[in-house]
């Protein structure tokens, strides 16, 4: 039997809305995942233009120094509980831009991610699989990684 609290977690997990925030090239594959062939709305995902209604923030690829404050501001505006998904190689260690010094190599040290999706860019199937992992995390009632720590808490933005 489901406990009442479990039921709330279950309900949250089945309608993940993500803040429509593009930081890099991976957003192209995110668009493909929205498209008819992969159609992520089957799973309850929906991009929303305002962070105030979003549950998930997707770091779509590279994070440059200039866009990081905007990313953090977006995250701060989202209501709890909120989760972060890091897409692509760039959001892990800079990926192909590892030697470029306008790109932040450790964005997830600043804003810790709950799920990493591998690839450059990840395929739409991988993106959906990654979001399924977030669902599992919510169903299990686990707290999000960014609420546990990360440099963003000490920063002004």
């Amino acid at each position: 039997m489901l406990k009442i609290l479990d039921f709330f977690d279950y309900a949250k997990s089945e309608s993940l809305w993500m803040a429509h925030f593009c930081t890099g090239c991976c957003s192209l594959e995110m668009a493909a995942a929205m498209g008819p062939r992969y159609d992520w709305e089957r799973y309850g995902y929906l991009p929303t233009p305002t962070p105030r209604q979003a549950d998930v923030l997707m770091i779509t690829g590279l994070v440059s120094k200039k866009i990081l404050p905007a990313l953090l501001r977006t995250y701060a505006q989202m209501p709890d509980p909120k989760y972060v998904v890091a897409m692509g190689a760039c959001s892990f260690d800079g990926g192909p831009y590892n030697e470029s010094l306008s790109v932040i190599k450790n964005p997830t040290e600043i804003l810790p991610a709950d799920v990493f999706i591998a690839g450059c860019p990840p395929k739409p199937e991988a993106i959906i699989e990654g979001l399924e992992q977030v669902k599992l995390k919510i169903k299990n009632g686990e707290p999000s990684a960014a609420s546990q720590g990360g440099l963003w808490k000490e920063m002004e933005f």
Binding site: A32, G35, S102, I104
Partner: protein, 547 residues
Amino acid sequence: MKNLRKIVEEFSCEYVENYKKIWIKAKLNSKNDLLTLANALKKEGLRSLSTVSPTDFLEDHIMEVNYFFEDLETKRNLWLKIDLPRKVEECKVESLTPLFPSAAWHEREAFSMFGVEFLHHPDLRDILKSEDFRGVYPFRKDFDWGAHEKNQMQNIQQIVDAFKKEQEENEIELDPDSSETMLNWGPTHPASGPIRLRVHCDGEEVISIDPDIGYVWRALEHLVTKKDFVGAIVAVERLCFMDNINSMVGYCMAVEEIADVKITPFASWMRVLLGEVARVSSHFMGLGGFFNNIGLHTLGMWNMDTREFFLDFLESYSGARIATASIEPGGVRYGLDMSMFDELQKALDKFDTTVGEVEAIFVKNPTMKLRSDNVGILSKEDVHEFGLSGIVARASGVKTDIRIDEPYAAYDELDLKYITQEGGSANDRFMMLFRDIKQSIEIIKQAKFHIEKAVAEGEMNPTKDHMVKVPKKLPKGEAISRVEWARGEVLMHLVTEEKAKSPYRLKMRAPSFNHTMMLNHLLKGRTLSDIPLIFGSLYICQGDLDR
């Protein structure tokens, strides 16, 4: 061509020589002649300044500035060089922006990255680079990136402070009793992507727009200098993922020119084929984006569906849907299994079955026509003055298409015609995109037929002919190459040193830079609701805007 040469030879030059078919390459001895020469060039008809590209020669203490003048009408181009002293205090030259408005942002870029000061430039501010680089010039060879990077957190703080300060200043400067406001359109507006437009507006009416760009600045031009010639394609193709093949083609052509390598016919036909597939898949996004921005998402979804089939072909050929890395100096990276063409045939069939519906429902849509017909009109004169290219230029009736003007790969063997629209409005640009897709599909069909025929007759070997060996170390030299990219003209200027393993300098001139410059021109006096429409119709991608 002769006239042009004569004009240049009147000035004291180190050399004047013909370069390729439609270029003249010259080096001025004195920078004082620049303005008079530019005046003469403008009178002669070279009305666009494609880009300004400085090269920093650390050992010779020289900052060499390259100017690329173009005449879109008669297809005569001039590559002009001048030497400036390298010291920041002395690195000054007269600005050409008053004569060639297309140079405005290019000179600002050269100023921000290399510290070349352009005298009498109307608006010489930093562009692209973020606030933490203020006062330093990141592309200079003696700039210490490592030391700069150590203070990452302070750098970010600097950016935050600058942003806050700007917002506060806006509050102070504007009269509290008036209805004027400064709006931030972005940094990530769902209709655009990472760009911030500072919209100064009075109620609904736009007074001026000042784009703040650089949110996806990856310093690609610097990144390639840290990689070898093959590894650099990873950076080059990330110019923009929507059409990555053609940017790689441009870069590889420049490398091959310096290495003096000629690629096989099979490779050049494959470059045409893959390039057009990438162009089509990019245009699909552009068409969808245009309709998304005016609030109808159906076409975007339909196009996404058709686009998947073209990506399937790229995936079967290279193993990756988007980041194919499939063009390499010396040819194309992979051989071709003829069964891969089955995927391409599926995509072409899919296009043929859906194009009729798209045309009936969207292209001939009366509501869309009504909305976009008299919006964002660019005249022929604007195209020349602001150096616009690609579909934006052709929508205004200017016959420019580098595939025809300066054929590369196997485009000279193809049956190609200029396609143009006359009006120059947002609607014309949309129509242009649609017609460009149709033309590209025709090219794909021709190229596919040609390859299949040549393979069947034994003229081409698809598994062995794809690559010619290019030496790992290149001689000293420089080259430029131009390709017709999905969004317009991409000009690559590559400089190498003796026995170089990696590029010394690569300048990538990307079309969205000029197109974004037009936003202020087009939106002055219009209403806020026109911003997404005009932005969508200009077909801007932040990837190649920021590089």
